[in-house]
């Protein structure tokens, strides 16, 4: 029977779609001929809005860019302001920042594990991941008062010191999660069904991944050991001993394994930070927000967010607010060209599989 080519709108209101995102698919039977990503569903224009607000007002705004992992956004903004204004950060603040960043990475990866396992029908594993993420949100609530948006890493350090007994609670949580790793492995990562559903799905080779600008797990799943924490250590990552997990195959299976291994590394980093953390001040006082002028200049800073390289190019023209900010967000590269490439010739049933394995978060793509 001959098959017509049809245009199919996948999302933003679709059961298999996560987030404010849609894909237009040209399909023949259940094979995808061509896919086009449409990211414009948020319309916030934060880069432009930041040009209207002063240096301090921007600080609670940047975390909104990535809903799932807001802390790396705060970090990159704080680093840019510190670099432009020449602010020194106390040593203890570096360690607290690393703890928060790695907790956020862990929470984000658990959220990712939830989304992926839920999509494959592993409801139990999904609930475990979500429950552990929820414990982490409790930790964040105790630390900063907010569960999702933390507004904690500010230019000059962090907003306040860790509350009493926080380190012990974090350690207790990590031990509980660590004790559960064999269960996660048995039920999900070493499960034959996961292997069958994810192996060779959304496969990309190293050459093509580099050419299309892949970052984060997509790059590490093709065997390229690229991590900003190693290549240009920020905070105090050069004092910490950790590995950058890589896999070779470049498919959804490899990407999920990279995420799993990164969670273990994050836990180890947090433990080392708690052990090595010095005592002392946690912030450098910054000027009155309404009178804060930052000298003319430009800077490009970058951090390793949970999804890959996150960069911020910021220009000051010597005023009380930025002249231009431009975020280089990891989902912007992974979520458009690479997604479109991987969806070619895939089946409709695998759209969610490929999309979630790329670990795209739609708010990051929008400008």
């Amino acid at each position: 029977m001959s098959q017509r080519e049809l245009e199919l709108f996948f999302g933003p209101q679709h059961i298999g779609m996560v987030g404010n995102f849609s894909i237009t698919l040209n399909v023949k039977g259940d094979r995808i001929v061509e896919a086009k990503a449409n990211p414009g569903y948020l319309h916030r224009g934060f880069e432009k809005l930041m040009e209207y607000k002063n240096w301090t007002q921007n600080f609670p705004m940047v975390c909104r860019i990535n809903v799932i992992e807001p802390d790396s956004m705060e970090m990159v903004y704080a680093m840019a302001v510190e670099s432009l204004a020449g602010i020194e950060v106390p040593e203890r603040a570096h360690y607290i920042r690393m703890i928060v960043l790695e907790l956020a990475r862990l929470a984000s990866h658990l959220f990712g594990a939830w989304a992926y396992s839920n999509m494959l029908g592993f409801d139990t594993v999904a609930q475990w991941a979500m429950a552990y993420r929820d414990y982490m949100l409790d930790l964040f609530e105790e630390l900063v008062g907010g569960r999702v948006y933390h507004i904690y890493i500010c230019p000059g350090g962090v907003r306040r010191d860790l509350p009493d007994g926080f380190e012990e609670k974090v350690m207790k949580f990590l031990q509980a999660l660590g004790g559960h790793v064999p269960d996660f492995d048995a039920a999900f990562f070493n499960n034959r069904i996961f292997y069958e559903r994810a192996k060779d799905i959304g496969k990309i080779d190293a050459e093509e991944a580099v050419e299309l600008g892949a970052t984060g797990q997509v790059l590490r799943a093709v065997g390229i050991k690229y991590d900003i924490r190693k290549i240009e250590p920020y905070a105090a990552y050069n004092n910490i001993d950790f590995e950058v997990p890589v896999r070779e195959d470049g498919d959804a299976y490899s990407r999920l394994w990279v995420i799993r291994d990164e969670m273990l590394q994050s836990a180890s980093i947090i433990m080392q930070c708690i052990e090595k953390m010095p005592k002392g001040k946690v912030y450098t006082r910054t000027p009155n927000p309404f009178k804060w002028i930052i000298p003319e200049g430009e800077t490009y800073v970058r951090v390793e967010s949970s999804r890959g390289e996150l960069g911020l190019y910021m220009v000051s023209n010597g005023g009380n607010r930025p002249y231009r900010v431009h975020f280089r967000t990891p989902s912007f590269t992974n979520g458009i060209l690479i997604l479109e490439k991987l969806l070619e010739n895939a089946s409709i049933a695998d759209v969610g599989n490929i999309m979630i394995s790329l670990y795209v978060v739609a708010p990051e793509i929008d400008r």
């Binding site: 880069e47 050419e211 970058r302 190019y313 280089r328 060209l337």
Partner: protein
């Protein structure tokens, strides 16, 4: 990144300026005809990752500035290649022949700043839909004014009664 690279760039290309404002950061100001040559040269020197393309609107000087950010998988260096272009009928060359992933960045700049990239086959809308106004990220586009005009005209419930 070492000084050898800086020397080689200076000797190979005419009419460029190279700055190293701090360790592991390099800024190269180029002429338009050098663009593809210098990007190809750096790509062969292991700076084979196009991190981003940024546009800055310098309205007082009546210019747009395009910035190509290049980085490497082995080197902590970050290179910015800069070119200023006039603000009237702005157009520039696409670097898709060298970096395929510049396509999306050029689409973004085309939409938000109205710069046309010769050689980019896909300058279709990325975020906006049915946008008739001037490109919204230009400095002479006032977001607050636009919001006021577009949304403040909706009558409140009391006025509606």
């Amino acid at each position: 990144m070492d000084n050898a690279l800086e020397k080689e760039i200076k000797s190979r290309f005419v009419g460029i300026e190279v700055f190293t404002p701090q360790k592991d950061r390099m800024t190269i100001k180029i002429r338009k005809e050098n663009l593809l040559g210098i990007i190809k040269f750096l790509k062969d020197k292991e700076f084979n990752y196009l991190t981003a393309v940024t546009c800055v609107d310098w309205i007082d000087e009546n210019e747009f500035e395009l910035i190509y950010h290049l980085s490497s998988f082995h080197d902590p260096a970050h290179i910015m290649i800069k070119k200023r272009i006039p603000r009237e009928n702005p157009s520039f060359t696409s670097i898709i022949p060298i970096f395929k992933n510049s396509q999306t960045y050029e689409r973004e700049i085309h939409e938000l700043f109205g710069i046309y990239f010769e050689g980019n086959p896909r300058l279709t809308p990325l975020f906006l839909e049915n946008w008739k106004d001037k490109p919204p990220f230009r400095k002479d586009f006032d977001t607050r004014e636009y919001v006021k005009e577009t949304y403040d005209s909706i009558p409140t419930l009391e006025e509606y009664k």
